[in-house]
Amino acid sequence: MTKYLFYPGCSMQKNARSYLDSMMAIRPELDITFEEVDDWNCCGATEYWSVHQVKAHALIGRNLALAEQQANGSNTLVAGCSACYLNLAKTANYLEEDLQLRAKIDDALAVGGLHFTPGSLDIRHLLDIVFNDVGLEKIRSKVVRPLTGLRVAPYYGCMIVRPDRENRYGNPEYPTALDKLLEALGATVIDFPQKTHCCGGHMTQISPEVAYELLHRLISGADRYNADLIVTLCPMCQLNLDAYQGDMNTFMDTDYHMPCLYFTQMMGLAFGHDPKELGIGKEFVDAGPALAKIGVELPEAEERPKPKPRRKQKQEGLPMPRMGDGNE
């Protein structure tokens, strides 16, 4: 039973509650526990940087200091939200490399009777824990309801892989951790070209038409590869893809029904958990039809147009380059 410090972040409290619930639900199978950082505050998302950068670092610094205090045994701080993860990691990183900044933040935190020692915490994203610490072998062994026949688009978004200073995902352009995880769950994983493209972030709030364009790229991309649903690991991405898909359709004059679930929910389903327990059903875009393919019954699931046959890629002709480790 491995224990991790956990930073939920504002989103997972409410709009991404199902992410939190599903994560909690699968703890036993993964054989891990989480200890929430006591009295944590907002990480400032992308907004706080925009207004005051030093204050933003102080804001995050408080969370780091609190976590450090609480770190007995485990000094690994886990975040499920990509923005939270990036912000925590970014500040920890800059405090290590920029001594002037460190002095400023030490000063500020001291006023609150706090101190953070750069390097004292290992800040990681939930996917990193699941993929690298728990490992695929263990996950495979827990699968009771394989996601066989389900075509999923693995979607990483931005802030988990960029900037990846510790180089945890090998390569910020074409990560494969989530792909491999979903394969381990039995799903058919499409080679999703937009897997690390942007969901529009806060643009859905301040200039929707920009966001709709970005969302359209993702959803149409997933649809072109006949994905049944998009699997994500970030509350902001899920919110944009799910809650704004309707507005996007209206704006773009399209008619997509591309459900978007969290990877923890997919794991929960594969582990045989009840959809409700995993917070499934809170989506704007009904995941029912997709999940029906793996025999998961949701209330009021409607029919969905049969996916078109996927166009084949010619295999004869000149041989393709050997990939070797190039893609690792």
Partner: protein, 194 residues
Amino acid sequence: MSAMLNEEKNGAPISYMAEVSRATPGNCRLEMCIQCGTCGGSCPSADDMDHTPRQLFAMIRADMRDAVLASNTPWHCVSCYYCTVRCPQEIHITDIMYTLKNMAIAAGQYKKTIDADFSESFVGYVDEYGRSFELGLATRMYLRHSPLSILKTATMGFGMLTRDRLDFSPQRIKNLDQLQSILKRAGEIEEAVR
């Protein structure tokens, strides 16, 4: 960074580039730009920007301070960090965009726009409660900036509420005084630099 220090030594006035460079935490390497356009090519919202990031850096070098602060480019940055990881000169482009937003706000530019207002309101809630408050934020945005789409928002907000994905009232952290005192001090330090 080093370029900046030299100028300080000779007591020459700090160039605008050095100013931006200094205001950005870490070594942002702004002075290393070779104008290759990898940033502008990678940017998902480049189409909506007045200037590509590359152009903005050229303008910074040319000391076109006002034009830079007036540009909407930083405000269309979605913080996807594509430019930062792809830049062949390892320039911290996303961070520089944040710096430019800080400067624009400090200079009173962009006060009226939704972009800056959204950020500032968000920060306002965080300063006030220690947590973000989506419902409050969303409502405020639409009331202030697009009253016409208030209905659509309402339905969306309603959807969120029915799905139990939205709080009616903001969450408050316990030790709010501590956070606020820390932020107050940090704010003073930040001012002192300017």
